[in-house]
């Protein structure tokens, strides 16, 4: 709203220079029936570019209007447009009030060819209120005011959503209603995106900065016209659209991490990194030489990093009598972040009577990351007339990560001895440098055609491409041993020995081609509107994955002994596998998926009841090819068809309250790599192996929600859900020799249930918004080894079945924000608090124990203040409580990760 006001002021000020004698227009816009003040409604003066939107009290003001007669239009999403003729006199205030009537047609989605104001909080609420399915919407405006800097932060505040992060914090995926990212779907502008990940279907939400987003929608129930592969829900990232009036936004921020005030940032040289592996450069059969491998990317140095900086720009306008709309934008981020982790691994304890895990290892890990994001959007649309429109959207996301990862690992017990007293033991070090370049592009061409009063046809064709290249991920390992002599009380440290170097080149590409068409037919039965819609989609998805690894081993000293490591430049090595691993690498595979889907749906509007339902069919052909071991399954194709019905009831209890009842069925397909049965080398530790017999998961989902909209900017939701998953996919223990192997497996069945509550309430300048989700899940894990009796007489593991929650699920998720807004002083502030209950993040091989992330509390603060007409200064402060992410196994800390607070200040210029 503030933005809109600023925009208005901007245009008005432009007028000041031209016309000395002007008038003012004021008024209020309310709902005709309820008298509710409409926030974010827009008014425009016909024949001019002048307009305004209403503030939180439903009031609007337009200054500096040239005297004359005008047609003024009031417009609000879901309401009929009202026009009035007015006369503006010089130096006078004219007051016009509007009472808008809800347009039930318009509210039921789409047959408006044109644009609704969709970046405001009010629009987001209206979207939630009038949509056919259950959804949560976060507006661009809300994001701008929040402490959030990317889509992952934004989503973490949505009711029932938590974020799964990898160690180091560069990847972030949404867990919706306790269902892992695998059960959820991510869209850009309504189209599924290709994944830059080498194994999964996921796209990290942290590579999507918030500035170019128009809104983020989370669909928690599906309609037949939506892709069915979302059991938890669908995240739709909607990027900016062409505005009705010219809009230019420029913003920049600068920030710093507490982490790098407390310790140095670990840097390495990127200058000599070879984009291609020796195999790729020289071809098949080339025997790599020691000098084919650079040294400088293993030369680490400690620096004080420069500040984090971001820049964004977007411009939108309509041309040719508003027929052609344009929006372009760019966001550039240069971020520095990292983490410090300490933890312990544990193993079965033969000496304790209950055989619970005992600490066998101490791990420390420091990560220093620099990430560059450079995203571009382009939107073009052309309205031929009120009935025909085509649009083109292209979203291009680029991410480059440069990461130094230092790990130290001290054995307490184990193969080569352990510690005798604290401070002693064999220690192995791993120092790794990674550069990771990702490109995600989503191009969509869409059209909508109102054929006549009854038929509307829309279509889209989309190409989504994700490419990732990780050139020369280099890892050097070395080791020392520290011993203690109790008689002399002296600790002795051995020299550091050079163990091994691995060099890894990987790239992968995901390509999606989509084509879709939908035909809607509108009629009415006894004055009750009925809409019938049919449509279909064909998606061709392909995945290419390449990885090559070279192993460099220390050149033994002339006497045969292992060399001491002191310096990467003086280290001598031999190439252990000079041919490279290339085609034999476990990550070398092709995957494909062809999906053909059809649906039919109807919507019937009785005066108070809306019935919406239909059925969708998805025909899947999914498979892979591998190029390795001839004794493995090399190519597998799995064909299956799902028939997925759904039915929604929306009952208007009052004009301000709805009750919704929903049933839908949905599915989740295995990730490509989960099918690939390559066995990783038995190098010890743990590894994951694919399962070609894996079945896709399906679910029956039930939802009930009560929605209350007391005022335009206030809302209250309470709802409950129940999901029954068939063949859920869970990563479980399968076997151990020297390597402990885990494999994705189908549990027969899982249950998820919970309730959610969300509210927004304002009192004067203060507001409180919040949400709470309680989640219960239960799955039978049949692959737990009985810790009391781990093996049978023939040395096979004794498995027991154990009930537990789903991986990734949290029981409690609470978000609250205290908001302060002072429109007069153009000041906003927000204090955001988050509580996340215990989360299951991993299963332990034995019965009775699992890896549990401990409850987290998080505090963030943001504030913005407008100065003058165009300028806003703002600050976003995150992780103010220095929250540690702690994972506990039995009675000890498996991991304790610290990322520390981040500080950011910025300036935004709106024109």
């Amino acid at each position: 709203m503030l933005l809109k006001n600023l925009l208005v002021i901007l245009f008005l000020s432009f007028n000041i220079y031209c016309f000395a004698q002007t008038g003012t227009l004021k008024g209020t816009i309310t709902d005709e029936r309820t008298g509710e003040k409409l926030v974010g409604a827009s008014v425009s003066l016909g024949g001019t570019t002048i307009g305004a939107s209403t503030d939180v009290s439903g009031n609007f003001t337009i200054n500096n209007i040239k005297p004359g007669n005008y047609i003024i239009k009031a417009n609000y999403i879901g309401y009929n447009v009202i026009s009035k003729e007015i006369t503006i006199n010089a130096a006078q205030v004219t007051t016009v009030n509007f009472k808008l009537v809800i347009n039930s047609d318009a509210l039921q989605q789409v047959n408006i060819v044109g644009r609704l104001p969709n970046e405001t909080e009010a629009a987001a609420m209206a979207n939630e209120r009038y949509s056919d399915n259950l959804k949560n919407v976060v507006s661009a405006q809300a994001i701008a005011k929040s402490p959030d800097i990317n889509a992952a932060n934004v989503l973490s505040r949505v009711s029932g959503i938590t974020i799964q992060r990898n160690a180091g914090g560069d990847d972030a995926y949404a867990i919706i209603r306790g269902l892992e990212p695998r059960y959820n779907n991510t869209l850009i502008n309504g189209v599924q995106i290709a994944s830059p990940d080498s194994k999964t279907r996921l796209v990290s939400l942290s590579i999507v900065p918030s500035e170019l987003l128009s809104r983020v929608e989370v669909d928690k129930t599906l309609t037949p016209e939506m892709d069915a592969d979302a059991i938890g829900g669908t995240v739709n990232l909607v990027f900016k659209d062409a505005p009705e009036k010219r809009e230019i936004n420029v913003s920049g921020t600068i920030g710093y991490e507490q982490l790098f005030l407390d310790r140095k940032f670990i840097d390495f040289s990127k200058a000599n990194i070879s984009t291609y592996s020796p195999f790729e450069i020289n071809g098949q059969g080339y025997l790599a030489l020691p000098n084919d491998f650079t040294r400088s990317n293993l030369d680490f140095s400690k620096i004080n990093p420069p500040p984090t900086e971001t820049f964004s720009f977007n411009y939108g306008e309509r041309f040719f009598e508003k027929k052609l709309g344009l929006e372009i934008g760019n966001v550039y981020n240069n971020l520095y972040f990292g983490s410090n982790t300490e933890g312990n691994s544990g193993s079965w304890n033969p000496n304790s009577p209950d055989h619970r895990p005992k600490i066998d290892d101490i791990i420390t890990r420091n990560i220093s990351s620099r990430q560059i994001l450079n995203n571009f959007i382009l939107h073009l649309d052309y309205k031929f007339n009120d009935k025909n429109k085509i649009s083109l959207d292209n979203v291009f996301l680029y991410s480059r990560l440069e990461e130094a990862n230092f790990a130290g690992d001290t054995s307490i017990t184990g193969g080569n001895g352990g510690r005798t007293v604290p401070g002693t033991g064999p220690v192995s070090f791993n120092r790794q440098s990674t550069t990771d370049n990702q490109y995600v592009e989503n191009l969509k061409l869409a059209g909508k055609h109102v054929l006549n009063n009854s038929f509307v046809f829309d279509w889209f064709g989309a190409f989504s491409n994700a490419f990732r290249r990780v050139p020369d991920q280099a890892n050097i390992s070395s080791n020392i041993a520290i011993s203690y002599n109790p008689s002399t009380q002296v600790f002795t440290k051995t020299p550091e020995y050079f163990d091994n170097i691995t060099r890894n080149w990987g790239h992968n590409e995901d390509k999606d081609y989509d084509i879709s068409g939908n035909l809607a037919y509108k009629t009415s039965i006894k004055n009750s509107p009925l809409e019938i819609k049919i449509g279909g989609l064909y998606r061709n998805k392909s995945r290419y994955n390449y990885e090559d690894e070279y192993v460099l081993r220390p050149l033994a000293n002339s006497d045969g002994s292992k060399p001491v490591f002191s310096n990467i430049y003086t280290s001598q090595w031999t190439v252990y596998n000079p041919l490279g691993a290339n085609a034999y690498n476990v990550n070398n595979y092709d995957g494909f998926e062809y999906i053909t889907s059809f649906y039919g749906q109807f919507k019937f509007n009785l005066p108070r009841l809306e019935i919406f339902g239909g059925v969708r069919a998805e025909i899947t052909s999914e498979g892979f090819n591998i190029r390795q071991d001839i004794t493995n399954a090399q190519g597998v194709t799995d064909n299956y068809t799902d028939i997925l019905p759904s039915l929604n009831f929306k009952y208007k209890l009052t004009e301000k309250a709805n009750l919704r009842l929903v049933y839908f069925s949905s599915l989740s397909r295995p990730a490509f790599f989960e099918l690939v049965p390559t066995t990783p080398q038995s190098s010890g530790g743990s590894a994951e192996k694919g399962n070609p017999n894996l079945k896709h998961s399906t679910a029956n989902n039930f939802d009930i929600r009560y929605e209350l909209f007391p005022k335009g900017d206030e809302q209250f939701f309470i709802g409950a859900y129940y999901k029954d998953l068939i063949n859920p996919i869970e990563l479980t223990y399968v076997s151990s020799g020297t390597t402990t192997l885990t494999q994705p497996q189908n549990a027969p069945h899982a249950t998820v249930a919970g309730f959610e509550l969300a509210f927004t309430k304002f009192m004067g300048n203060f507001g409180l918004s919040g949400n709470y989700a309680y989640n219960y899940s239960d799955v039978n894990d049949a692959h737990k080894i009985d810790r009391l009796n781990p093996f049978s007489s023939n040395n096979q593991p004794n498995f027991v079945t154990e009930h537990r929650m789903l991986l990734g699920a949290s029981v409690h998720d609470l978000n609250t924000s205290l908001l302060y807004r002072n429109i007069k002083r153009k000041f906003n502030a927000q204090l955001a608090f988050q509580f996340l209950g215990k989360t299951l993040i991993g299963t332990y091989a034995y019965s009775g124990d699992n890896y549990i992330q401990q409850p987290l509390t998080n505090l963030a603060f943001s504030a913005d203040k407008s100065i003058g007409k165009h300028l806003t200064i703002f600050t976003k402060l995150n992780n103010l409580l220095n929250t540690h992410t702690k994972v506990v196994l039995y009675n000890f800390e498996n991991g304790n990760e610290v990322t520390k607070a981040t500080y950011l200040v910025g300036m935004r210029y709106n024109y």
Partner: protein, 421 residues
């Protein structure tokens, strides 16, 4: 089966014949000569193979050889197998290499350089028998750059390896896991492991007997017993006796010293009558072993010098101080559960407890693939003679393969009942 029964019948008659006629003249033993099953023609082989590799034939392995479950690959005495292209044997069926003292079987690469072929991946095999077989220069990396053991079994099957030679591999020599039932007798393991790798690495519930073996100049530990961090098998439980372990554990550096014999991570067993000379550490029983059930004694510890000075660190840039290793302090290293036993012969100086090998170059650290010109037979006057125990209770009597502990220590007891090499 039928042929086997007939065979046994004939053998029984022949035996009977020898017993009844022993007084008169040299009996005529009639051994019926049966044609080999599925004879494999000399020359290039690769892919899925079963049948018999024939005496006197030379085979060239050009790519990985697979033996499928249910199939048998049998190698007759004197067959020579040359492995090219870093190939390996992948055994899921039965593998039998049946050399004889007079006519051993040989597996080697075409280049005869250490680390130039893949060895035997018998992870899920049905049975492995190896007699009088030379396995040379294994340990080339697998296709993904992973290390390869010379021979690995990870299944609860019989593994019988006798009188064979394993020379110049690059990683673990024998990896015996997951409930394998092992009889490892009278073998020579020599100069294996580049800068890592154990000699006989026994884990995850393997049981059996390791006796009369010589392990010389292994990079890591000579004989290592462990169960696993994730227990899905019974504890590893092995009788380790009468082995000679010399100059082991030096090539991994001071941060990961190798041992003559070690027991750790829930393993148990017997460790008796072994001779341990010039190893980095002697016998190490880790605190996480099933300490109460690791029985040991009557072992001989000797060193040809009181200390070994590892000057390698001086060569680094910048130089780090040399490491001086007190060998005698490492016979039973501090911080572990193992302690000197009254029945042990523990050398306190170069003059005491000397096993008096016929020849020994007194080496500590040798390069991977170094020649072994030593003769570890005992001279008269050896401190090992008559100090062995024959009274400890064997844990795996069914896997003894006909041997018993000797009154002398080491692989070469003076009664000649030990190692034949």
């Amino acid at each position: 089966m039928k042929t086997l029964k007939i065979n046994l019948f004939i053998v029984a008659i022949a035996l009977l014949a020898t017993i009844t006629s022993c007084q008169k003249e040299k009996p005529k033993v009639i051994i019926p000569v049966l044609p080999p099953s599925n004879p494999i023609t000399a020359g290039n082989i690769s892919g899925f193979i079963k049948g018999t590799m024939l005496t006197g034939s030379t085979y060239t392995v050009t790519a990985d050889v697979h033996v499928k479950k249910g199939d048998t690959l049998l190698v007759q005495p004197g067959a020579i197998i040359v492995v090219k292209n870093n190939s390996q044997f992948l055994i899921e069926g039965v593998f039998q290499s049946l050399g004889t003292q007079a006519s051993p079987v040989t597996f080697d690469s075409d280049t005869h350089q250490p680390g130039t072929w893949g060895g035997f991946a018998c992870d899920s095999s049905q049975a492995v028998t190896m007699k009088w077989t030379k396995v040379l220069n294994t340990g080339g990396p697998d296709n993904t750059g992973g290390t390869r053991r010379t021979l690995v079994v990870a299944a609860p099957v019989k593994v019988d390896i006798e009188d064979s030679w394993f020379l110049n591999g690059q990683d673990d020599c024998l990896g015996l896991f997951k409930g394998a039932q092992i009889t490892i007798l009278r073998n020579t393991l020599q100069s294996n492991g580049s800068t890592d790798g154990e000699g006989i690495n026994i884990k995850s519930g393997a049981t059996g007997v390791v006796a009369y073996n010589v392990v010389f100049s292994q990079a890591g530990t000579g004989i290592k017993l462990e169960t696993a961090k994730v227990i899905t098998t019974a504890e590893t439980n092995v009788d380790v006796f009468n082995n000679t372990l010399v100059s082991n554990g030096w090539r991994r550096g001071a941060a990961e010293p190798g041992r003559g014999v070690s027991a750790g991570v829930s393993a148990k067993g017997n460790i008796y009558n072994n001779i341990i000379v010039n190893c980095y550490h002697g016998i190490e029983i880790f605190l996480d072993a099933d300490v109460a059930n690791v029985k040991y004694g009557n072992n001989l510890f000797y060193a040809t010098a009181n200390t070994f000075v590892d000057n390698t660190p001086l060569a680094a840039t910048p130089p780090t101080p040399a490491v001086t290793v007190d060998i005698r302090a490492g016979f039973y290293p501090a911080g572990a559960a193992g302690v000197a036993q009254a029945s042990d012969v523990i050398s306190t100086s170069t003059a005491t407890g000397n096993p008096l090998f016929k020849t020994f170059d007194n080496s500590f650290l040798n390069p991977n693939g170094a020649a072994n010109n030593n003769d570890f037979h005992l001279q008269s006057g050896s401190a090992a003679i008559g100090k062995g125990s024959t009274s400890f209770t064997i844990r795996n009597p069914s896997l003894l393969g006909g041997v018993t502990p000797d009154t002398d220590m080491g692989a070469y007891p003076t009664d000649g009942n030990g190692n034949k090499h």
